[in-house]
């Protein structure tokens, strides 16, 4: 099949150190700490308080509005505390529910029947009830994606996994291709799409083969994509497979496409077939800073420190990153729990992450060449330093996908993405006024 190569992008070393380690189930932790705000959109409303007894899969917070999902208890235990902690994504204090595990799982599941017997509306309802969000990291409520206001004819399952180091999607595709395909079929049914693709970067031949084998029974077409960061960006993935460009400021449905991560597809299947709410997820424990390169399934809320104990940290000082090295967030505390959007924990020692101080931009055009969205990062940054936020907006600041390609190639060590995130916040705030 013809694949459309997007312009720009970068080729960081892929370093898929954990690509051959099978997914393991992590043993239970003592304490779980869950941010109430785990999804983009409205955070759910809390239903429990300190002292509440909870069971595995029990709803502990309910959706607040349409663009919101409920949150479920990952274990059977007791809510010991509800406190404020700095949210790693927003940087602001946010509600955290701390649950202490008291014993074996006593499950509260949703109803279950074979996934093929659900009607489109039932699928959407179930996906919402199960608290499923985009597991690639964006954490956008999946049922909203499944309710497009425009005609959708194509479903694309995102197995690109272009972030260096991360391998959980690859392992999922190798080990659970059937469940992913069935999830894909359910997604297609929900949105009324006829065609299902799976996009996988060609540096994962095992995943491609596995998905091809499983997918043929469902009429799912596997597309091998060039290995180039950020191939897994939703808009660039759609372009690669359909040649359609999602309009600036628009959504995939504007070009008749819905994209979901392969792990999300699997979660959807399990919510339908087994009635499982989203209380666990797969993630990669990796980086030169840990001894054991692992892919694990862990309950949401598992403290990062427990995961690092399992992977065995082997360095004195490092960045512990939620996610991969290109877009992940360096943690300031290891006591926070993983959330629905945590696709990996990457531990990078000082030697890898250290970089010299910023120097003057020499307009070497490397950022212009690297930008997959055809922006001019050097210019946006120059405007940022002069606080020209309106001009930045006119230069398509809001189309920036924050992939970090510009900062990756910059010889002057400029932190473009940090600046652009700030500028976007300013533009949004000014726009609201």
């Amino acid at each position: 099949m013809l694949v459309w190569r997007f312009k720009g992008g970068v080729h960081p070393p892929t370093k898929k150190l954990a690509k051959d380690s099978s997914i393991e189930n992590l043993k239970a932790s003592k304490r779980y700490s869950l941010f109430v705000a785990q999804n983009s959109g409205n955070p759910p409303k809390l239903l429990v308080q300190a002292g509440s007894e909870v069971k595995t899969g029990q709803k502990i917070a309910e959706a607040d509005g349409f663009v919101s999902v409920p949150l479920h208890s990952p274990v059977t235990g007791k809510v010991v505390e509800i406190k404020k902690e700095k949210h790693p994504v927003t940087g602001r204090p946010a509600d955290v529910v701390v649950i202490e595990r008291t014993g074996e799982d006593e499950w509260v599941k949703l109803s279950a029947k074979p996934y093929t017997e659900y009607t489109p509306d039932e699928i959407k309802k179930r996906v919402a009830e199960a608290g499923i969000v985009g597991l690639g990291g964006a954490t956008f409520p999946t049922h909203v994606k499944l309710s497009p206001s425009k005609k959708v004819d194509t479903v694309i399952l995102n197995g690109a996994e272009c972030e260096p180091y991360l391998t959980i999607d690859q392992r999922m595709m190798v080990e659970h291709p059937d469940e992913i395909c069935k999830g894909g079929v359910a997604i297609a049914k929900a949105v009324g799409a006829a065609k299902i693709f799976v996009g996988i970067e060609e540096n994962k031949p095992d995943a491609i083969e596995s998905m091809k084998k499983a997918g043929s029974a469902f009429g799912i077409e596997v597309v091998a994509l060039p290995t180039k960061y950020p191939q897994g960006s939703e808009k660039h993935l759609i372009y690669a497979i359909t040649k359609k460009q999602v309009p600036s400021g628009g959504l995939p449905m504007d070009v008749g496409v819905v994209v979901d991560n392969v792990s999300t597809a699997r979660a959807i299947y399990r919510a339908l077939e087994f009635g499982e709410p989203l209380i666990e997820r797969g993630l990669t424990l990796t980086g030169e800073g840990v001894k054991n390169q692992k892919n694990v399934i862990a309950r949401i809320g598992t403290p990062v420190s427990d995961l690092l104990d399992y992977a065995e940290v082997s360095v004195e000082s490092a960045r512990v990153i939620l996610g991969g090295p290109m877009t992940g967030i360096a943690l300031e505390s290891l006591e926070i729990g993983i959330s629905k959007g945590t696709s990996g924990i990457t531990v990078l020692p000082e030697g890898i992450v250290k970089k010299p101080a910023e120097t003057n931009c020499i307009r070497c055009y490397r950022c212009v060449e690297a930008c997959p969205t055809n922006l001019e990062p050097y210019l946006l940054y120059k405007m940022f330093k002069k606080k020209m936020f309106n001009e930045m907006k006119e230069e398509h600041l809001m189309d920036c996908i924050e992939c970090g390609s510009c900062a990756y190639v910059c010889p002057a060590n400029i932190d473009h993405v940090k600046a652009f995130k700030t500028a976007k916040l300013v533009v949004r705030t000014l726009g609201r006024r």
Partner: protein, 329 residues
Amino acid sequence: MKLLTGPAPHIHENISTRRIMLDVLIALTPSAILAVLMWGWYMLLLEIGSMAFAEFLEFFVMRVFRKKKDFVPDLSASVTALLLVFNVPAGISWWTMASGILVAIIIGKEIFGGIGNNPFNPALVGRLFMYISFPVAMITWPQVNWLHFWTPAYDVATTATPLGEAKLHGVAAATQLFHGLTWNSFLGLIPGSAGETSALLLIIGFLYLWWRKIVSYEIPVAYIGTTFVLSALFWFANPSAYYDPLTSIMVGGLMLGALFMATDPVTSPVTPLGKWIFGIGAGVITVLIRYIGAYPEGVNFAIILMNALVPFINQFTKRRVFGTVKENG
């Protein structure tokens, strides 16, 4: 474990401004060595001395005037200095050279805020200053004095250059004077400014930079190509009055200008289309100055003029942002 923090991306390509500048110096080294072989120790002194002086000036400005206590030289001053040395006759007096460096670094670069902020190529600013202030010294070229290391370039008998001779006495006279001009100028065995004479070595240096992904090909191809085509038109019209197009692109510092001066990232456009426009514009101006203007060669002026247009070129050659297509499919 000590937790380190910092914004994403957490990994970076192994590249720095200093590394880029070092690569440019590496690319210029073959030409620098050739110049020493042709004009002896004095050439070596000019090269090393100018680079040292330029670095000193920049260091002084940054540390003393701008109070940047953590300033570490990034070798860009050396690149400017070496390019300027390449752009002047080998026998130039050391103090003329020093004044050129002073102007290049201070007026050409530092008063605008240092590296990245200068609108004009600093080396060309320096050269223009020297051209205007020391017109005789700047057109007094020593003959090629192959492998006489201990004979200083300023003691060597002087000669005309191909373009100068053609302007004064016509192409026929020049062709007689410079026997086998096209081939010799490709190899570099002709009189001219110190580092510009060998097209071959300059091209090798440029290919190294291109392979290292430091420069892109658009500007040189557009610049040299335009000069070639326009020179061909003049030549077809009157072969006895103009050089053939192949010779035209070998002489007059065009190679040095197109490969190393016009490609200075700070003072050239950022998009591929912008680079094409920049190169074509420089080619047109160069040929017009050479053949219609008063000066024998026009590379210096052409690049400086195009430098001035860069902000406009950048403004009008923006690429279409991904997702702003009118129709899909």
